[in-house]
Assembly symmetry: D2
Homo-oligomer: 329 residues x 4
């Protein structure tokens, strides 16, 4: 099934929007999503102060109603492929937004950094995007490493959150781990789960320091699946090599605490370890790549290489099964 | 030159101790350092509450007075090799210490986690340490990946800091990046620099969640060198593959801000980029592996792969030169 | 106009609920609100783990649609009187909730504090509530100082937030400053403003350390008014003696930065001061009573005594006018 | 005993300096201390960027060796009187220092706020200092409310800390509660305690937002006393009306947690309450005036009015005794 939203079907929240489609577990979706700016930054002369309203960024493709999904279930989304859908990406230093500036939360009285836009040209053959300096002649080609900034579903308790927010429901986690080959597990809060995706990045550094990645429209192929019950407390990601969890809060140590506790719980479940032993073991094997330090909440990934631990299956080995299904597409 | 401190020569601070030796730039040192606990935890029955005083952990080997080092200079320490100096390492969940418990700063009224010690046996042939669960029969062999928790020098302004603290002077940064093959650059604050090393880890997960790594006595071979002037604001690390910076503060987003700003400055220097362009570029290429979330200050590493950027030399290519010298030892 | 919601009309969010009533600016409302627990804790044997669901606390009375209110306007609510509506209040140490315990954000692996409920008897003649220790015979009478924990309106950007959350839209600010005689100014985000109130406290310490105040059903008399345009960035409060602002975020220094910047802006407006002069002046005259360190966001009040500054009028002296109207009721 | 340090006897650290004098418990000291800037800012044309080195601010008068003081003891300092020792005070917005700007920890890439100095004239008859706006003609007289920014002693574990730092040893707590009539209790870490005072403020707002108060040279009369053993975990302050504790750390919620836990412990001790009951009681009666959000650590005061609790004596009623002795001077 394919779906490309018309602009009037863009949504800017998790929760609060009527589903655009009902899908059955097992469905393969091919989805087009616009970039974080809704395509508004197309040249270095397009400034974010003129063209971007931070209340309406990260337009979502969705939400999708998953048949049979009920609160307490686990939505599994397997990312089969992510393909840049335009020949350029855009990034910007938005005034009072990002990690190296005062913001609407880290309020200072200083002047903003200069509103600046960078355009990255995509070279599909070389699989690169080109950084072009704005203040000198530097041009540096960087590998394309497509990922999705936002994958989320409707929050609990009737909340509706901006698509700029990452939290327990997933959302704008902005981690490079959200790439082809990954399966993300999200706890379902409402009937139908109501998940959506968007905010494609042609590449992003960990931390997403300036507040924006190489933002680009994306064509995402994913498989939707459902595990009854067993909702994780916070988003979990599995790929062929790692078990991963994502915490999103403030200050950043709280994001880490959330993700680390979730990983300790997961490792304990997978291997039948006592929590204190899982805590000790994770302390010696975890990797902690920061996702972003710029959004409404900061996101931190904690992960462990499968190769370091005994073999184990999560959620009845659904990731391996989805990988298999993906290969056969 | 070799140096193994007797127990009465252990020091527990950066600054505040008389040098144990004077060394010239270019000197190769072979240093033995005790583990973080001063060797006090040798079986699972040795509990930290009985045997460890947190005011006196991470015994330092040093300090060393580097001839010619003056405030504003840059001390370069190249780690040639790190060899476990005992056949076992120890780790512990120390009451009210670590990342998943209330502490003396994150104060709660809850009971402590159970005081627990783990002993890891080293297998020198297999290059592994073995995790043995305390509450089940699990035994998991993990690769030995030796690193130093503490590398630091005397602080500025006449301060003396516990060897439990990481800050601008380096110290207890607890990052796995501090391993053989790395060159660390530290800004000199006092005549002679007065650096010391210690807190060897046979391996450590990023975050060092439980507060302690696989702590072990270590034999470290390093080359001391000096760059006149050009002191970095915060610790910088270079290895063959990455430019790295380390920020240590609280909350963790401040540690990240420090390290990220230092990396932006470094990349701007190395490549002649405008700060806004360096900010943008780093936003798309940085990796951010958290070092620890448990010490007096939290440490975050920000790094960028050399392969992604044009070729460049830092500090007159001293790292390449030190690597060459290391190979010829 | 009087309004007492039946239980099926309780709402648990800011935004996302249909208005219960339309009111004109100038209307006097007399409102009954249930306590934070929906009246579920009536004896020390009623434990929060059995009777309280944190997704559905702080039942709101409202929302009220204010005629003529449009985005960008300023809603002014003047609290005329707050009267305890029951003869007892309740407080609880809810497992994994509060300031001196690990929580769902400050995650630790420790056991929770013991789930404990305290009941405070109200003495209407003495104007006291009585603290009765649970572990000894201490009984201490404390003055009743009624306040509202939550006063908020619908958020911007289509968001819907739990009534446990304080933010830019007001909400669960949990400050003792929200008491009879205060006028609160909130920026309107949606047509009709859609404000609600709830979470009455018979008294509360600053910080609300254990997570709950002396929670009690409340009868609130307030006057609704509207200022066209001039929406403040964050909640402002005025009483006869102070100009006040409230910031709500995490970490707590960000809450303070928000509130302090808002106060600097307000003082600059009121007195025609340059922002740097207002910054300096506020630095020497501000008081900073923390509101709460326990909610989804932490709230900090920054205030300045009117007596320290030259006379000034905010919003066309509407507070003085409302005080006058209140006296004549 | 009187003591006015010559400039070469100024010290800039807690710990690390030889005592200037030995005093017996019970001694009355009359001490002159220079202002935070060492008197360098005397007109609005004296800019901090030219005249202030942040490594050497808050010159201390001391340290004083208290005879008989041993680790684990409690130093009691009773402030009898604080008298401005000059006819003017100075304040400054120091580049990259303060609460409403990026700093060396909250690093941003923005330009600094304009380096600005304000001079406050003291009127001894009217007991006022006069704020004179730098960008308009506003002149506002403010009451003189003298306090000491720094009161501290040598840290534990051989550490030496800058006089810019507040922590467990007291230090640069920058709270208006440190005023005449207060008794501060500090845990002794080294033989002789080695306390010092400085950083007089003619007045200061809570939060000390711009980073500096109305800084002024001060003549402080205090009584030194000693309680054997019973060292508090963190600084405690008692005056006629309040029990107070001070926490200093980062992020600010950790400062609050520290102070609140210390107050809960103190109230439990004073009244024989179970910790859970003391936690509950303090939750309903505490006041939380923020001290500063600008120093190396942020400081938060938690206090409770004696009038709300049953009568109690701390440290054998030494405060009442010191008040009595002060009156008889």
């Amino acid at each position: 099934m394919e779906y490309t939203p018309t602009r009037d079907r863009y949504t800017y929240t998790f929760g609060g929007a009527a589903p655009v489609m009902r899908v059955r577990p097992g469905t393969v979706l091919r989805l087009w999503s616009d970039d974080a700016f809704g395509g508004a930054l197309r040249s270095v002369d397009d400034l974010s102060s003129a063209k971007v309203d931070l209340r309406f960024v990260n337009p979502q493709t969705g939400p999708f109603h998953v048949e049979g999904a009920e609160p307490g279930d686990t939505l599994a989304l397997h990312l089969v492929s992510l393909e840049p859908a335009r020949d350029w990406g855009a990034s910007a230093a938005i005034p009072f937004f990002g990690g190296m500036t005062g913001t609407d939360r880290v309020v200072t009285l200083q002047d903003p950094l200069p509103d600046t836009t960078w355009i990255y040209e995509l070279d599909r053959e070389r699989h690169t995007v080109a950084f072009s300096a704005r203040h000198s002649d530097h041009r540096i080609e960087l590998p394309v490493e497509p990922m999705l900034g936002t994958v989320g579903l409707a929050p609990a308790g009737g909340e509706v959150r901006s698509s700029l927010v990452p939290d327990r429901f997933g959302g704008n986690m902005d981690t490079p781990q959200m790439r082809a080959g990954s399966t993300v597990f999200l706890g379902v809060n409402v009937e139908g789960a109501l998940f959506s995706v968007g905010d494609g990045h042609y590449r992003q550094g960990e931390g997403e320091a300036c507040g924006t990645a190489v933002e680009g429209a994306m064509t995402t192929t994913l498989i939707v699946d459902l595990v009854k019950g067993r909702a994780p407390g916070w988003p979990r990601i599995e790929d062929d090599d790692h078990w991963m969890t994502v915490g999103s809060s403030r200050p950043m140590e709280d994001s880490w605490r959330i993700a680390n506790a979730e990983l300790v719980r997961w490792v304990a479940e997978l291997h039948g370890l006592h929590p204190m032993d899982a805590y000790q073991l994770c302390s010696q094997v975890a990797e902690v790549p920061v996702a972003n330090v710029v959004d409404a909440n900061y996101s931190v990934v904690v992960k462990v290489a499968k190769a370091l631990l005994p073999a184990a299956d999560a959620y009845d080995a659904i990731h391996a099964d989805l990988r298999q299904r993906a290969r056969s597409l």
